[in-house]
Amino acid sequence: MGAPMSGNGGKPWAPSPPPGHVSRGRLERVLRSGQFAVTAELNPPDSADPGEVLRRAAVFEGWVDGVNATDGSGANCHMSSVAMCALMTRAGYSPVLQVSCRDYNRIAIQGNVLGAAALGVSNILCLTGDGVQVGDQPEAKPVFDLDSISLLATVKQMRDEGRFLSGRKITEPPRLFIGASENPFAPPYEFRPMRLAKKLAAGAEFIQTQYCFDVPLLERFMARVRDLGLDRRCFILVGVGPLASARTARWMRANVPGVHIPDAVVARLEKAGDPKAEGKRICVEIIRQIRAIPGISGVHLMAYRQEEAVCEIVEESGVLAGRKPWRRPAGAASDAAAVMTLDEALESGVDD
């Protein structure tokens, strides 16, 4: 299927990363070239229809450098991150695989990492995961075999040493750009920069943070990060997102673990005539303030149920400074075609 790519010792499917890069992905290239990057979170469908994933991803096209496929976020069951990433790579997007330690043990995780890389995924975000009690199935067994930091170390070992945790050899290591999350807005505040250092030591190359609604707190965190010289050893993308109303803000504060929203923000939404527009305005303001903080390499947009607002926010904030992230060239395979190739693959001789 398709013309074989060359440049990797005759292996048709895996050209080597460019020099100085660990992955073949666009996200890493944008970050390493020193440009302010934008990533966005894609909420997985509760459906087995591939078209839903591709339609949701298409909203971000031309505005973001990477699309995070969440992995049972909030401990709710949805389509898996690996599957969403696989669908997105077929259509040409640059997905970020999210792996949460809540749902898999180390055997499953290492298998998934290899599989995702084989499907063309170039970025991975290693997470601990929310506890099962916040989700729709609180009676589930939480796994937590690894934690986010030992998961980082595991992926790094697989990539750089070409070995599983057991030491067994991997013939073609996964070429992944390794990411981690951080929450500068939760206690113990003084420990957070140290924990970031720990994540870097374990292998993290980019960081996506929890929602930022409190810029002074972020500034304090970043000051410490710069003192420790950590900003020069990784790319930090700060999480941002529009709040739809004061009610949503209060609900998030109470129900989404680790989200800190200052009262001032809630009050502003309360007073606004059009809370949705105000929420977007707050988000744009926060992005502009973040842009001015030294040591920050990008923003990560999490616009739950407001995905269509992402491009407007990116445009209004002006963070791309005229840069145009990748979009499918005109006349390229449509969503339908991407799904078609799937069907073809199934029909052409792969008997189940």
């Binding site: 995961g129 937590f144 986010s148 595991t154 929450n183 206690p187 420990f191 680790g258």
Partner: protein
């Protein structure tokens, strides 16, 4: 109907933390992390020193008694969960296996503004305590060491005797 919470369902270590014991002996231990860390170092040295003797008696034969002793003492002082591979000296004397996510490398992102656990709000996050304890300890930066994944085979065994077993070897 009163909400029946089954803590066991959230508890990878098979035992729920005891939220009532917000203070108690384990909290005392964190406050006296410096002293206990030294005591701990001494006890490790003692184990290593008596290694030839212990080996002569046979580690297998000692296991039962050692584990019992450890469970009783460390259980009281640290709420020890008998993971069999103690990291107290790198966690400010706050046992990380009381974390419902069993995180041995630092807190998750869900710690509440008051320092409460994401899963058991009434319990102080073990890593908030650990950070306090670590400041009091001599080896303040031990908390920055990256801990390798836990070996589940060692659960229930004595961590003291484990000092004498080859690292990465069979439990």
């Amino acid at each position: 109907m009163p909400a029946i919470r089954n803590p066991a369902a959230y508890e990878p270590q098979g035992r729920a933390p005891r939220p009532a014991r917000k203070g108690g002996l384990p909290a005392w231990s964190v406050r006296h992390a410096r002293f206990l860390a030294r005591l701990y170092a001494v006890s490790c040295a003692a184990v290593n020193f008596s290694a030839p003797l212990l080996r002569r008696i046979g580690l297998e034969r000692l296991e039962g008694a050692a584990a019992l002793l450890e469970r009783e003492t460390k259980g009281r002082f640290f709420d020890c969960r008998m993971c069999g591979q103690c990291v107290l000296s790198a966690t400010g004397m706050s046992c990380p296996m009381n974390c419902p996510k069993a995180l041995r490398n630092g807190p998750c992102g869900g710690v509440r503004p008051d320092g409460g656990c994401e899963i058991y709000p009434e319990m102080t996050c073990v890593w908030v305590r650990a950070w306090e304890g670590a400041q009091r300890m001599q080896a303040e930066d031990a908390i920055l060491q990256v801990q390798t994944p836990i070996d589940h085979r060692r659960k229930g065994a004595s961590a003291w005797l484990a000092l004498l077993r080859p690292i990465g070897g069979k439990p």
